[in-house]
C-alpha cells in the first residue's frame, strides 16, 4: 500500500518535472530556434532583394545610358543641320534636348559606376557628402560681389563700401556686405564694422508690393536697432542692417547630428542648442516688447556667431497692432497652420497675438534641432530621437493649438532654464517646469500690464502700422529723435542688446494748458531742465508724495530686484557665451591648423604625384643612372677589395691583441663543451686531457669565461662541425670582441651517434693566425682519436 502511494507520488513528481522542463526549457528553446530561423530567412530575403535590386538597377541604368547616348547621336546631326541652315531657334531647341540627354547619360553613368556598387556594399554613406552637401554648397554660393552697373549709376549707397554679397532670399532683393566709411561711423561708437544692405530695385525684378511690405515695419525696426538706415527714391529702395557672420542654425544642426551617435543629441549638445534657443527667445522678446512680430523664424534665419544666435531677415517683420489683414507669408513647417487658416478667413493682424506665431516657430526650430528634420505636422509631430521628456513637452506646448500654447516668450524661457540648469536634463519631468505650476500666467499678466504701462512700447507697437502715432508719441531713429515737430539732434547709442537708446529720454508730456520753458544744459547730449517754477513745485510735490508712498516704493524695489535678477542672468549668459566662444575659437583654430597641416601634406603629395617627367628628361635620367653605375662599379669593386684587406689587417691586430692578453704565452682558445654527456666524469676526464694537451702546445684554453661562451654559442652555427668551413662573420666578431683566437669545441661524434668519445673541433680565426705553426700535435679531426684515449684504454 505504502509502496503504491510512493510510486504515485514519484510518478506525479516526474510528470511535474517534465512539464516544468517543457515550459521553462524546451518552449523557450524552440522559440529561440524559431526566432533564429525566422531571422535567417528574413536576412536571406533581404539579401536576395538587395542583390536583385542592385542587378535590376544596374541593368536599368545601363540601358538608359545607352538609350541616352543613342538619342544624343540622333539629335546631334539634327542640331548641326539646323545650325548650318541658320534655324537658330530650332538649333537651340535641339541643343537643349541634347543637353538633357547628356544629363541623363551622366546620371546613369554615375549610378552605374559609383552609386549602385557602393550602395550594394552598404557604403552609400560615402556618397552623402558628394550628393547632398556639395550640392547645397553650390546652391548657397553667393552671387557677384559687386552690384550691377545700373545700381552703381543710381547713386549707390553713400557712406558704405561694398565688400561682398550674400545669396538672395525669397524676396528677390539683393544683399550686399558693406563696410561703413569713417565719416559714417564718426560719433557712433557702437556702429557695426560691417553691415548688410538689402537692396530692391524695380528694374531688377523686385515688385512694389514687396517693397511696401519690407518698408512697413522699418521705423519700429530702427527703434530696436535692427535697421540702421534706409533710403528710397523712384528707382530703388534699400535698408542697412548689422552684419552677423557665421553659419546658420541648419548647418550647425547638421554638424551636431553628424557628431552625435545617431540616436539623438548628447547632454553637452543639448546645453548648446538650448542656449541658442534662449538667445532666440531673448531676441524675440525684444521684438514683441517693441511691438513687432518677426514672422519668419527658421533655422536659415538664425546665424550662429561667437556662440550666440542672431536673428536676421526682416523681410516679413510686422507690427503687432497693424490693421492689415494676415497673410500666409512665411516658411512652411515653421509657420503655424492656424495662421494660414486665419489668413484665409481674413483675420486682421491686430485681432490676433502675432507673438504666438513666433513662439510656434521657436517650437518648430527646437524640434528641428532635436530631431534633425522638419516638424511633420505641428504639435502632432512624433519624436524619434532621444531627448528629454521636459524638452519634448516644451516643444509640444510651443507648437500646440493657438489658444493652448505659451503666451509669451518669457514663459518658454523660464521652462528652458530649468532644463538647461539641470544636472541631468533627461531626469527633468514636465511636472517640474514653471509653466506647469502656473507662474507663467502671472508672468504673462505682468508682461501685459508692463506693456500697457510702457509708453515706449505703445509707441513702437504702433510704428509702421496704418494708424498714425499720436502727437505725444515720439520715436527714436538712428542719430535723431523724430516726432511730430520734426527732427531734433541727439546722440543715440546702442546698448548691449543692440537696442537704440537715446542719451536723453524723450521729454515728459507737458501739463495741460501750459508749456514749460526749457533750458538746455548740454548742447552735445541734448540734456535740459524745465525752468517753470510751478512745474518744478509740482515735481517736488510729486516727489514728496512718492516718498510717502511706501508700498509703491516697495513695489518699485521688487521691480528693481527683478531687473537686477534679469541683469545677473544676462551677465551669466554672456559669460557662458564668452567661454563657449573662446572654446569654439580654440577648437576652430586647432581644427584650422590641422586642416592646414593636412592640406600642406596633401599639396606636397599632389605636387610629387603630379611631377610627370617628360620623355627626354626620363631618358636623360636613365642615361645618367647607367653612366653612374658604369663608373661606380669599379670603384665599388675596389672598395670591396680594400675592405677585405682592412678586415684582414684588423684580424692581425686582434691576434696581436690576443697574444698580448695572454702575455705572450700563447693564443687563447675558448672551450665549448657541447658533448651530450658533458657532466659524465669519464667524458670530463677526457676533456681535461685534451685541454692539458693544448696547454702543452702553447694554447691558453679558457674554461671559465661564461660570457664569452654564451656569446659564442649564440653565434655558432648549429651544424658547423668541420673546421674547414668558412667561419661566419658573426662568429668572427664575437671572437674578436673577447680577444679569442679560436674555439675548442667538444661534441659527440659528427655522425650524431651517442658516442662517449669526445669529438674535438678546433676552430681558429683567420688563415694566418696560427702562431704555433707548424703544430703537428694539435688535435684535429684526423688525429683526435689517436690523442684521446678511449674508455677502454682507461
Amino acid at each position: 500500500m505504502t509502496y503504491g502511494i510512493l510510486s504515485i507520488l514519484v510518478f506525479c513528481f516526474v510528470i511535474v518535472v517534465v512539464i516544468l522542463a517543457v515550459l521553462f526549457l524546451i518552449v523557450p528553446l524552440l522559440r529561440g530556434i524559431g526566432w533564429l530561423i525566422g531571422g535567417f530567412f528574413k536576412s536571406l530575403g533581404w539579401l536576395i532583394g538587395h542583390v536583385f535590386e542592385f542587378i535590376s538597377g544596374m541593368l536599368r541604368d545601363t540601358v538608359r545610358f545607352v538609350g541616352a547616348l543613342i538619342a544624343g547621336v540622333v539629335l546631334l546631326p539634327v542640331m548641326l543641320l539646323n545650325v548650318v541652315i541658320g534655324r537658330w531657334s530650332a538649333a537651340g531647341h535641339f541643343g537643349r534636348s541634347m543637353k538633357r540627354e547628356c544629363s541623363v547619360a551622366g546620371v546613369c553613368l554615375y549610378r552605374v559606376v559609383l552609386q549602385r556598387p557602393l550602395r550594394f556594399l552598404l557604403l552609400g554613406g560615402l556618397l552623402e557628402g558628394l550628393e547632398q552637401r556639395v550640392d547645397e554648397a553650390v546652391l548657397a554660393m553667393p552671387p557677384a560681389d559687386q552690384p550691377t552697373r545700373r545700381a552703381w549709376r543710381s547713386g549707390q549707397f553713400d557712406g558704405y563700401t561694398i565688400v561682398g554679397s550674400l545669396p538672395s532670399g525669397g524676396s528677390g532683393a539683393k544683399l550686399y556686405i558693406a563696410e561703413p566709411q569713417p565719416h559714417k561711423r564718426a560719433g557712433h561708437r557702437d556702429f557695426p564694422k560691417r553691415v548688410v544692405i538689402k537692396y530692391f530695385t524695380l528694374s531688377d525684378g523686385s515688385t512694389l508690393p514687396q517693397i511696401v511690405r519690407e518698408s512697413r515695419a522699418l521705423e519700429a525696426a530702427k527703434q530696436l536697432g535692427l535697421v540702421l538706415e534706409h533710403g528710397m527714391d523712384e528707382h530703388r529702395f534699400f535698408y542697412v542692417m548689422p552684419y552677423h557672420h557665421g553659419d546658420h542654425l541648419g548647418i550647425i544642426t547638421r554638424q551636431l547630428h553628424g557628431e552625435s551617435d545617431g540616436q539623438g543629441l548628447g547632454r553637452g549638445q543639448l546645453a548648446e542648442v538650448i542656449s541658442y534657443i534662449e538667445d532666440l527667445l531673448g531676441t524675440l522678446s525684444r521684438y514683441h516688447r517693441g511691438g513687432l512680430w518677426h514672422k519668419d523664424v527658421k533655422p536659415e534665419n538664425l546665424i550662429v556667431h561667437d556662440g550666440r544666435v542672431h536673428l536676421v531677415d526682416l523681410g516679413l517683420v510686422t507690427p503687432l497692432r497693424s490693421a492689415m489683414t494676415l497673410t500666409t507669408h512665411g516658411t512652411e513647417y515653421f509657420r503655424d497652420p492656424e495662421m494660414v487658416r486665419m489668413a484665409i478667413r481674413g483675420v486682421k493682424v491686430h485681432q490676433v497675438d502675432g507673438a504666438k506665431f513666433d513662439i510656434y516657430a521657436v517650437g518648430a526650430v527646437l524640434y528641428f534641432i532635436i530631431e534633425g528634420t522638419f516638424p511633420a505636422h505641428g504639435g502632432l509631430s512624433t519624436f524619434d530621437k532621444k531627448s528629454p521628456e521636459a524638452l519634448r513637452w516644451i516643444i509640444r506646448r510651443a507648437m500646440a493649438d493657438y489658444n493652448k500654447r505659451y503666451e509669451t516668450t518669457e514663459q518658454v524661457l523660464a521652462d528652458l532654464e530649468i532644463v538647461r540648469a539641470a544636472a541631468d536634463p533627461f531626469a527633468v519631468k514636465p511636472a517640474e517646469l514653471p509653466s506647469m505650476r502656473g507662474p507663467g500666467e502671472v508672468a504673462a499678466q505682468d508682461f501685459e500690464s508692463e506693456r500697457a504701462d510702457d509708453p515706449q512700447a505703445q509707441v513702437v507697437a504702433s510704428a509702421g502700422s496704418p494708424k498714425p502715432p499720436s502727437d505725444e508719441q515720439r520715436v527714436k531713429i538712428w542719430g535723431a529723435y523724430v516726432g511730430p515737430e520734426g527732427v531734433k539732434a541727439g546722440r543715440v547709442t546702442v546698448d548691449d542688446q543692440g537696442v537704440g537708446v537715446g542719451a536723453q529720454p524723450p521729454p515728459p508730456p507737458a501739463a495741460a494748458g501750459r508749456r514749460p520753458k526749457l533750458r538746455v544744459t548740454n548742447w552735445w547730449t541734448g540734456a535740459y531742465q524745465a525752468q517753470d517754477r510751478r512745474i518744478a513745485a509740482d515735481a517736488a510735490a510729486a516727489a514728496a508724495a512718492a516718498a510717502a508712498a511706501g508700498p509703491a516704493l516697495g513695489r518699485a524695489a521688487r521691480e528693481f530686484r527683478g531687473q537686477a535678477e534679469v541683469l545677473r542672468r544676462r551677465v551669466r549668459n554672456q559669460a557662458v557665451g564668452a567661454r563657449r566662444a573662446a572654446r569654439e575659437q580654440i577648437k576652430t583654430a586647432r581644427a584650422r591648423a590641422r586642416e592646414m597641416h593636412r592640406a600642406a601634406r596633401n599639396h606636397r603629395r599632389q605636387a610629387l604625384d603630379q611631377r610627370q617627367p617628360s620623355p627626354m628628361l626620363a631618358f636623360l635620367a636613365v642615361a645618367v643612372l647607367l653612366a653612374g653605375a658604369f663608373l661606380l662599379l669599379p670603384l665599388t669593386t675596389e672598395r670591396s677589395g680594400r675592405a677585405e684587406a682592412q678586415e684582414l689587417a684588423r684580424l692581425a691586430e686582434a691576434v696581436a691583441a690576443a697574444r698580448a692578453h695572454t702575455s705572450g704565452r700563447g693564443l687563447s682558445l675558448l672551450l665549448v663543451n657541447d658533448h651530450p654527456a658533458a657532466t659524465d666524469p669519464l667524458v670530463q676526464a677526457k676533456v681535461n686531457k685534451i685541454v692539458q694537451e693544448h696547454h702543452d702546445q702553447g694554447w691558453v684554453v679558457l674554461v671559465d669565461n661564461r660570457d664569452a661562451e654564451v656569446a659564442v654559442r649564440k653565434s655558432l652555427p648549429a651544424g658547423m662541425v668541420d673546421p674547414g668551413e668558412p667561419m661566419p662573420p658573426l662568429l668572427i666578431k664575437t671572437l674578436l670582441r673577447y680577444n679569442l683566437a679560436g674555439i675548442l669545441r667538444i661534441s659527440s661524434s659528427p655522425g650524431g651517434g651517442e658516442s662517449p668519445e669526445p669529438y674535438v673541433t678546433r676552430i681558429v680565426v683567420g688563415p694566418s693566425v696560427d702562431p704555433m705553426s707548424p703544430q703537428p700535435d694539435v688535435p684535429t679531426d684526423d688525429n683526435v682519436d689517436e690523442q684521446v684515449p678511449d674508455s677502454e684504454d682507461r
Binding site: 522638419f374 505636422h377 504639435g379 502632432l380 512624433t382 506646448r397 519631468k429 514636465p430 511636472a431 517640474e432
Partner: protein, 246 residues
C-alpha cells in the same frame, strides 16, 4: 451621401477656401505619396507637389459635375483626378497629343463606376483612411485641454504606462484615466464626423469597424496608436522628400 458629406461638397462647390485648405492638409500627403509612387523615376519632388495642387484644382473644376448617385468612393474619385493630372503631365512631357481636346471630367467618368470593393490600390486606400483618422486626431487636439491631450499622447501614442505618465506630469493615476477617457470620447465623436465627411459610400464608413476602432477602449487605443504612427511615417516620408527640394 450623409449630411456632413453633402455639406462639405457644398462648401467645396462654393469655393470655400477653408474647405479647400482642409482638403489639402488632410489628403495632400497621401496624394503626394501616391503620385511619387506612380511617377517614380520620371517626375521629381517639385513636380509631385505641383501635381498635387493641380489635382485639387481639377477637383475644383469637376466638383460641380460630381454625381453622387453613381456611388463612387471618395478615395476613388480623388485617385482618378490625381491619375489624370499625372497622365496629363506625362503626356505633356512626351509631347504626345493623347487626351487633347478632352476635358478632365471625361477621364473622371471612367473611374466613377460603382465601387465594388477596394480594388484601385490597397495601399492607397489604406493611406486615405489613415489620413481621415489623422484628421480626426488633429480636430480633437484643440478641443481638449493641453494637459489632457498630452496625457493621451504619452499613454497611447508614446506607449508609456499610466504610472509613468502620472509621474511625469505630477498627477495621480486616476486623473490620468479620467483624462484618457475624456479624450477618447471626443476622439470617437470626431472620428465619426470626419469619416462621414470624407466618405461617399456606406462601405467607406464601415472601414472604422474593420480597422479595429471599435467600442472596446483598449482596442480603440491600440488601433488609433497604430494608425497614428503609420500616418506619421507617411507624412515624414513626404516631408523628407519635400525637404530635398529646398
Amino acid at each position: 451621401m450623409n449630411t456632413l458629406t453633402t455639406s462639405f461638397v457644398k462648401r467645396l462647390r462654393d469655393r470655400d477656401d477653408a474647405a479647400w485648405f482642409e482638403l489639402w492638409e488632410v489628403f495632400g500627403p497621401v496624394l503626394r505619396v501616391q503620385l511619387s509612387k506612380w511617377g517614380r523615376g520620371r517626375i521629381g519632388v517639385e513636380t509631385v507637389r505641383d501635381l498635387t495642387q493641380e489635382t485639387l484644382a481639377a477637383l475644383s473644376d469637376s466638383i460641380d459635375r460630381y454625381d453622387p448617385t453613381r456611388g463612387a468612393r471618395f478615395s476613388t474619385w480623388l485617385l482618378a483626378i490625381a491619375k489624370h493630372a499625372l497622365g496629363d503631365e506625362i503626356d505633356r512631357r512626351m509631347a504626345l497629343k493623347r487626351g487633347a481636346g478632352r476635358k478632365a471630367i471625361a477621364f473622371d467618368e471612367r473611374y466613377m463606376a460603382k465601387a465594388s470593393g477596394i480594388d484601385a490600390d490597397r495601399v492607397y486606400e489604406q493611406n486615405v483612411f489613415r489620413a481621415k483618422v489623422y484628421a480626426a486626431i488633429r480636430k480633437t487636439e484643440p478641443e481638449v485641454d493641453f494637459l489632457q491631450f498630452q496625457v493621451y499622447r504619452m499613454r497611447v501614442f508614446d506607449g508609456q504606462s499610466g504610472k509613468q505618465v502620472a509621474e511625469q506630469l505630477g498627477v495621480s493615476e486616476p486623473t490620468v484615466s479620467r483624462h484618457l477617457q475624456r479624450v477618447r470620447d471626443l476622439l470617437r465623436r470626431r472620428l465619426a464626423e470626419t469619416i462621414a465627411t470624407y466618405s461617399f459610400t456606406k462601405e467607406e464608413q464601415r472601414e472604422v469597424q474593420r480597422a479595429g476602432l471599435s467600442d472596446d477602449d483598449l482596442m480603440f487605443d491600440d488601433a488609433l496608436g497604430e494608425i497614428y504612427h503609420q500616418q506619421s511615417r507617411l507624412i515624414l516620408e513626404d516631408e523628407a522628400a519635400a525637404s530635398q527640394a529646398f
